[in-house]
């Protein structure tokens, strides 16, 4: 567990929780990124303002961090474009079908003790663990 960073993880987690509570108290909305972004892609939805504002804030965070001297490293992704595209399609389709992702189910839903969110979170963590076990250890990648 040499990579374990409990302090920064706890600080970051508190901020994510604060953001979810503030969004709920102010707009009455769940801070689920799938729902926020998915609603933006739906041409018929009318409440786009707060969605655009939230996602703009999300993207601005590393930009502002860069101004104060904390540059975000570009994420390390697989070399294969096919893997990136397939993963993106699965994440997009799966989160919409399952009605949420790590934020909506994992944080907001579990906070409300929703059985759906608890079930979804267990399922996506277990399948992700199995996927990593297969790709990293069985396929030697």
């Amino acid at each position: 567990m040499a990579n374990f960073t409990p302090v920064s993880a706890a600080i970051g987690g508190v901020l994510i929780g604060l953001s979810a509570v503030l969004l709920m108290l102010s707009t009455g909305r769940v801070a689920g990124i799938t729902g926020i972004f998915g609603g933006l892609l739906n041409l018929r939805s009318e409440d786009k303002g707060w969605r655009i504002a939230f996602i703009a804030g999300l993207i601005l965070a590393p930009v502002i961090a860069g101004w104060i001297g904390y540059d975000m490293a570009a994420p390390k992704l697989p070399a294969s474009w096919v893997v990136i595209v397939v993963a993106g399609l699965l994440v997009g389709f799966g989160t919409r079908l399952g009605g949420g992702c790590t934020s909506g189910h994992g944080i907001c839903g579990i906070a409300r003790l929703s059985p759906r969110s608890i079930a979804a979170t267990i399922v996506f963590i277990v399948t992700a663990v199995i996927t990593v076990a297969i790709t990293h250890h069985m396929l030697g990648g």
Binding site: G12, A74, L89, F93, T127
Partner: protein, 152 residues
């Protein structure tokens, strides 16, 4: 001016992902790789977020309405059904392949990394494909009902 608040929420959320390291796929994959050099950080992020959101949401439950909206938009479904489980499983496979989920993927657009842009475009295509499929199923269902309905 209320639009400042969701912008601020996005900024705080983004800062949380950034400080915790969860924007980095290597960090997320470290948590998912329980048979390798396991990194439990993601579990601490979730626990800390829940420690704040649980009492916070309870506070919201007591209020009649949010500051800038007429009502709370709470998820309506309650049962565990096949779409929920199938969707979560498909998401888990994609998450495990690359280590990106929707929040960190969108936030990482700030780095202008070509891989991230391709991932986000594919993710948006997956979402649009799902919504179009649902829409066509609903339309077909409605047509069947109309065809089966008695005259008038």
């Amino acid at each position: 001016m209320w639009i400042i608040v969701p912008l601020l929420c996005g900024l705080i959320f983004g800062a949380g992902l950034l400080i915790s390291g969860m924007v980095q796929p290597t960090k997320v994959l470290g948590f998912l790789d329980i048979f390798g050099a396991w990194d439990p950080s993601l579990a601490v992020v979730m626990a800390a977020a829940l420690a704040v959101s649980m009492p916070g949401f309870r506070l919201a439950d007591r209020g009649a309405q949010p500051w800038f909206a007429g009502q709370y938009f709470r998820p309506g479904k309650s049962g565990i059904d096949l779409p929920l489980v199938t969707g979560a499983a498909l998401f888990g496979i994609g998450w495990g392949l690359v280590g990106l989920c929707p929040g960190p993927a969108l936030e990482s657009l700030a780095t202008l990394s070509p891989g991230v842009i391709v991932f986000v475009v594919a993710m948006a295509a997956g979402m649009i494909a799902h919504d179009a499929w649902q829409q066509s199923r609903l339309t077909a269902q409605r047509e069947r009902q109309l065809a089966g309905a008695p005259d008038g």
